[in-house]
């Protein structure tokens, strides 16, 4: 029980609070060698030191008090804060599409957590309506928390659970699905769901936010509106990632789950379609397709759920001078599949050849992808490429490294027959390998060049 009274405090600072009988959320008057302080004692983040006590002073600011300076302290009152987004029942509007929001965690719906000092997920239709009432004009929303993990903790188990839940919802007649997701591995999940949920009759939209919803300038609200609009109203029945187009609050982009990648650690417009153009733009008013061909929304419910995933696949990011034991150790550890992320057109150094041969003999499935992110693996151009193919490495076209990892895991979840696996890997399900690369599929503009600066000035970034 004592933990409840001294939330987050440990060691020396806990002893001080106990000594003077001052609780977290208690109003305290504290005498120190640096003068007198008073305010409400707040919980302390778990990873912060045990030498300070956090106090909210009357002006609303927080300060820390060094416990070694404390001469005495006294609790004069107690008032626990109740952090709660005002919940309002999500209204039902006849005629609007039915959309299901699956919660997985991440910053799209979050609130303050004293344990880590960071934000934790919070989420219900009522809370969402309280925070983004505009959603009620777009669709009739129901929500389900599938699990609550941070993006980096999403993995095979979660992909499978999500795929099954989606299948169930589609059978139940939903008009569109939105998945709230942390952004770090949004594109991994996008690929996984593309492979696991095939022939969907409705849009499946993955959405996150780059700025948590506890900030006034958060992209969460607009991203959610865009995602709901897409799920409820768009004709594109594919697995998509819906995030900001420019960093400005203007419009979102719909990216194919297999061709999208997070390209900046913190920008709002971090998600980009690689080697192709996005599917469409989305605003609160309309969805404008960019690509002419896509899978259209259907009335039937003929979805195929293929919830397979092997956890025996790894990735090897090549660097000059990489030694054979890196690969040997992975093989010895029992990995059945390796995605190489090679240099240039898809290369690793000769020193690795013996290890590659050994791995091939042991039946390890090896595929080559690119550090350049853009472009195709071309292993016929140089001898080294041909050597590697002879030793069992299969070029994976212009499949993104992360997508190749997801797909090989998915394939090995179904079969270990090399030919079967190869067929699965090289037969695109939804453009994870494309036949052609449009010239505007590669655009990394160089700032500082006059014509680019002119563009940046006139078009919102």
């Amino acid at each position: 029980m004592s933990q409840d009274f001294f939330q987050g405090y440990k060691g020396d600072s806990l002893k001080v609070l106990q000594k003077y009988n001052v609780r977290v959320w208690g109003q305290a008057e504290i005498d120190t060698t640096r003068g007198q302080f008073s305010g409400t004692v707040l919980p302390r983040a778990e990873n912060d030191d045990d030498q300070h006590i956090v106090v909210k002073i009357v002006t609303g600011y927080n300060i820390g008090i060094d416990i070694t300076t404390i001469t005495t302290m006294k609790e004069t009152g107690y008032k626990k804060a109740n952090y709660k987004i005002p919940e309002k029942e999500f209204p039902f509007t006849p005629g609007l599409p039915k959309v299901k929001l699956f919660g997985t965690g991440g910053t799209i719906a979050s609130r303050l957590d004293y344990r880590t000092g960071a934000v934790i997920p919070a989420f219900s239709p009522g809370e969402l309506y309280g925070a983004v009432p505009e959603l009620a004009d777009i669709c009739n929303l129901t929500t389900e928390k599938v699990f609550a993990v941070f993006s980096e903790n999403m993995g095979p188990k979660q992909y499978v659970a999500l795929a099954k839940a989606i299948g169930q919802e589609i059978e139940n007649g939903i008009d569109g699905i939105v998945i709230g997701h942390g952004t770090d591995t949004l594109h991994h999940t996008g690929a996984a769901l593309t492979f696991m949920v095939q022939n969907s009759p409705v849009p499946i939209v993955l959405v996150g936010s780059q700025r948590s919803s506890d900030r006034p300038s958060s992209d969460a609200a607009l991203n959610l509106m865009h995602a709901m609009k897409t799920a409820g109203h768009s004709d594109i029945a594919e697995v998509m990632v819906c995030m900001f187009g420019p960093t400005s609050d203007e419009y979102g982009l719909l990216h194919k789950g297999t061709r999208v990648r997070k390209m900046h650690s913190s920008y709002r417009s971090t998600f980009r379609t690689i080697g192709d153009t996005p599917l469409a733009t989305v605003s609160r008013d309309e969805i404008i397709p960019i690509k002419k061909h896509y899978n259209h929304r259907r009335k039937d419910r003929d979805v195929k759920i293929l919830p397979y995933f092997s956890d025996k696949v790894t990735m090897l990011y090549y660097y000059p001078g990489m030694r054979p034991d890196t690969l040997d150790n992975l093989v010895d550890a029992g990995y059945k599949g390796v995605i190489f992320v090679g240099t240039g057109l898809g290369h690793v150094n000769k020193e690795l050849y013996p290890a590659i041969e050994r791995a091939h003999e042991k039946g390890v499935h090896m595929y080559m992808t690119l550090q350049t992110i853009w472009g195709y693996v071309h292993m016929f151009v140089y001898d080294t490429g041909r050597d590697m193919m002879a030793k069992g490495i299969i070029p994976a076209g212009n499949m993104l490294p992360e997508v190749a990892w997801v797909k090989l895991s998915w394939a090995l979840g179904q079969t270990e027959d090399p030919e079967e696996v190869k067929k699965i890997m090289l037969t695109p399900i939804n453009d994870e390998i494309t036949q052609r690369e449009p010239y505007n599929g590669y655009l990394v503009y160089q700032g500082g060049v006059p014509e680019v600066d002119e563009f940046v000035k006139n078009v919102h970034k």
């Binding site: 003068g35 007198q36 912060d48 060094d66 300038s217 958060s218 940046v456």
Partner: protein, 654 residues
């Protein structure tokens, strides 16, 4: 409304009824009568190389048209740490503003547009903030926690200002009293506004993120002059460190004012301390007037809860005069007539010089409903913009009673609902008294509504930064390097007999250390040193062109040179303009260019008999006084620097 009603008479009558006095006639009794109370939030930019949370340069400014990119944001209210929505936040959300940021490559990085989390706090800024906190006798915190203070007006792209408390509970000593300090915080400065028209507000981001401190006082000031004195003191204290920025916008203050029974109202961004007395004076009386309006309303309505306004849309031939209302453009705009029951005679109630209660409504409509002026007229204007018969027609349409007032406004359809809510809200507030708000100041001493006053509910811990412990030895080291206190310096200047009219200039430019050096190191007469800086140098600054290379250290260098050469300090007055404009010239050349010639004292004195004869020959009025003045004038040029003028004058008496 009775036909005999005269708005101008009513305005004057209500002004008299609340006992308004102009500031120049106001006494402490007047302020005691209305319970004047005021405190300050003084902002001061720190002189650092970088911004507070990123490595962009600080102190580089762009012209409004000078930018390289634009970013657009909308702000949405979020909960505070204690789970409350803030009133300001909700008001700003109502205004539905599109915020446009102008970015310049030189002064903005991804941090300014909130596309990257904060970097480590600037250490230079932290050092300065702690020094000033120590000078302000504040209790220094054990650990700095960065807090997010919500600002939904868009002045900061994140929607909050990152700010941390450095010290709490301090005090400063004015000439006759002590003012208590609540706290000092270190924070990032906000954007500068370029324009705000309708639903679009434009900011530039050059100033954004520059380190700023805010010193907050208790409301200990009991008259307008005291507020200015306290403000000057805090600014001088900040400048005494030599570590803060000066010039336009480097120091700004918000002034909190209330009268007895009134509410805390914050007058934002007062650029000059000399504006403070007039502003605080008017604000205290504005509140006093609002309380009179409250009393009158409560007299008129037994059950104030039943008060209800009514409105109709005027269409087609019911619109009195197209041209005048909608600037001839009726398209996409609606014209609404509103009846305000019981507000007859109150719309034209005095609030501030030249302003009446109706302006309270008008100002809110502009800010909250984003209407573009002109957008409103009412039945009690001092210069009626419409015939009485037309108002009578409108009153009839609204079924108005004799004690009611009418108001007309027009705007885009989308804004009408917010506008009606705003009018109703402001009128309901009139029953309560003085709304808590922030107000924008004007040079004439009046203010207008800017925002609902935010409270502690807009605070949220910054989850992007870790708490920053301040160790004892770090603070002790900083406290060893502090300048002497401003109040001690003030008493020292008095002791030196330096005239008081130089003090403001000396403190505001932080010249005390220079004067101190001249007196201590060069044995200069204190009055000469004080007046040389406070009068002569001030005059030169105002009348000559300062060269970029000029540094005030050159003043002590110049006097040191004169002392070594055995030349009187008086010549400094003639040398300094040259040094000020051509600091690269050596002092020898400066003297030569005046021109100055070294002449022995005795040689100068020996010229007196000759000049006396000359005077006797040529003068018309032969008084000794005239003789002395004439000879002094003849000798002045030769004497300056060679013999002290008072010594020369004394030689006549011998």
């Amino acid at each position: 409304m009775q036909k005999s009603f005269n708005a101008s008479d009513n305005y004057e009558k209500t002004k008299e009824a609340i006992g308004y006095v102009a500031r120049k006639n106001a006494t402490q009794q007047d302020y005691d009568r209305i319970g004047f109370m005021s405190g300050l939030e003084v902002h001061q930019q720190l002189k650092t190389k970088h911004k507070l949370f990123c490595k962009c340069p600080a102190g580089i400014f762009q012209k409004p048209e000078d930018y390289d990119a634009e970013v657009i944001r909308h702000m949405r209210p979020t909960l505070s740490e204690l789970g409350e929505y803030d009133g300001t936040a909700l008001m700003e959300f109502k205004t539905r503003k599109k915020i446009v940021y102008h970015l310049a490559n030189e002064t903005a990085c991804t941090y300014e547009v909130d596309d990257t989390p904060p970097f480590h706090i600037d250490h230079e800024a932290l050092d300065i903030a702690i020094r000033i906190s120590l000078l302000s006798k504040l209790n220094i915190v054990g650990e700095v926690h960065i807090t997010r203070k919500q600002y939904l007006d868009g002045s900061i792209p994140t929607g909050f200002q990152r700010t941390g408390i450095i010290g709490v509970e301090g005090e400063i000593y004015l000439k006759h009293k002590k003012i208590r300090l609540i706290q000092l915080s270190l924070e990032e400065d906000s954007c500068r506004e370029v324009s705000d028209i309708g639903h679009t507000r434009v900011y530039r981001t050059d100033r954004l993120g520059m380190p700023l401190i805010e010193t907050v006082t208790y409301p200990d000031c009991v008259n307008p002059d005291e507020v200015q004195e306290a403000c000057d003191y805090i600014r001088f204290l900040n400048r005494s460190t030599g570590l803060v920025r000066t010039g336009m916008g480097a120091g700004r203050q918000d002034v909190n004012v209330s009268c007895r029974g009134g509410s805390r109202v914050e007058i934002k961004g007062v650029a000059h301390t000399k504006w403070i007395p007039e502003l605080t004076h008017n604000e205290s009386f504005r509140q006093w007037a609002l309380l009179a309006i409250r009393d009158e309303l409560n007299k008129r309505f037994k059950d104030t809860g039943k008060w209800k306004m009514a409105h109709v849309e005027l269409k087609g031939k019911n619109i009195p005069d197209h041209e005048r209302f909608l600037n001839g453009n009726l398209k996409d705009q609606k014209l609404i007539a509103v009846n305000l029951p019981g507000f007859g005679g109150l719309m034209s109630h005095f609030t501030q010089p030249g302003k009446m209660f109706a302006d309270e409504i008008k100002d809110r409509l502009k800010v909250i409903a984003c209407l573009i002026p002109p957008f409103m007229m009412h039945s009690e204007e001092l210069q009626a913009s419409m015939e009485q018969t037309e108002w009578d027609n409108i009153a009839k349409k609204l079924n108005a009673g004799d004690q009611d007032a009418q108001l007309l406004f027009w705007g885009p359809e989308d804004d009408i609902k917010t506008a009606l809510e705003t009018i109703e809200e402001r009128c309901r507030m009139a029953f309560e008294g003085v709304p808590n708000e922030t107000r924008k100041s004007f040079a004439d001493g009046t203010t207008i509504f800017e925002r609902v006053l935010p409270g502690a509910d807009r605070m949220y811990p910054d989850t992007d930064t870790a708490p920053l412990p301040l160790a004892n030895d770090y603070i002790e080291k900083l406290s060893e390097e502090l300048p002497t206190e401003v109040i001690d310096r003030y008493h020292q200047l008095i002791k030196w007999n330096i005239p008081e009219n130089t003090y403001t200039y000396i403190f505001s430019k932080n010249h005390f250390p220079l004067i101190h050096r001249l007196i201590e190191d060069l044995d200069m007469d204190p009055v000469f040193a004080g007046t040389f800086i406070g009068h002569t140098f001030k005059f030169i600054e105002g009348h000559y062109n300062r060269a970029a290379e000029f540094d005030t250290k050159m003043i002590s260098g110049m006097f040191k040179y004169l002392k070594e050469k055995g030349i009187g300090f008086e010549i400094g007055k003639y040398m300094l303009p040259e040094v000020f404009e051509h600091p690269k010239m050596d002092f020898d050349s400066v003297l030569e260019s005046l021109p100055f010639k070294k002449i022995a004292e005795a040689d100068i004195l020996s010229m007196i008999p000759f000049l006396k004869n000359k005077f006797a020959e040529t003068a018309i009025n032969h008084t000794p006084e005239n003789e002395k003045n004439w000879i002094m004038g003849e000798l002045r040029k030769k004497a300056v620097g060679n013999i002290a003028l008072n010594k020369l004058a004394a030689s006549f008496n011998s």
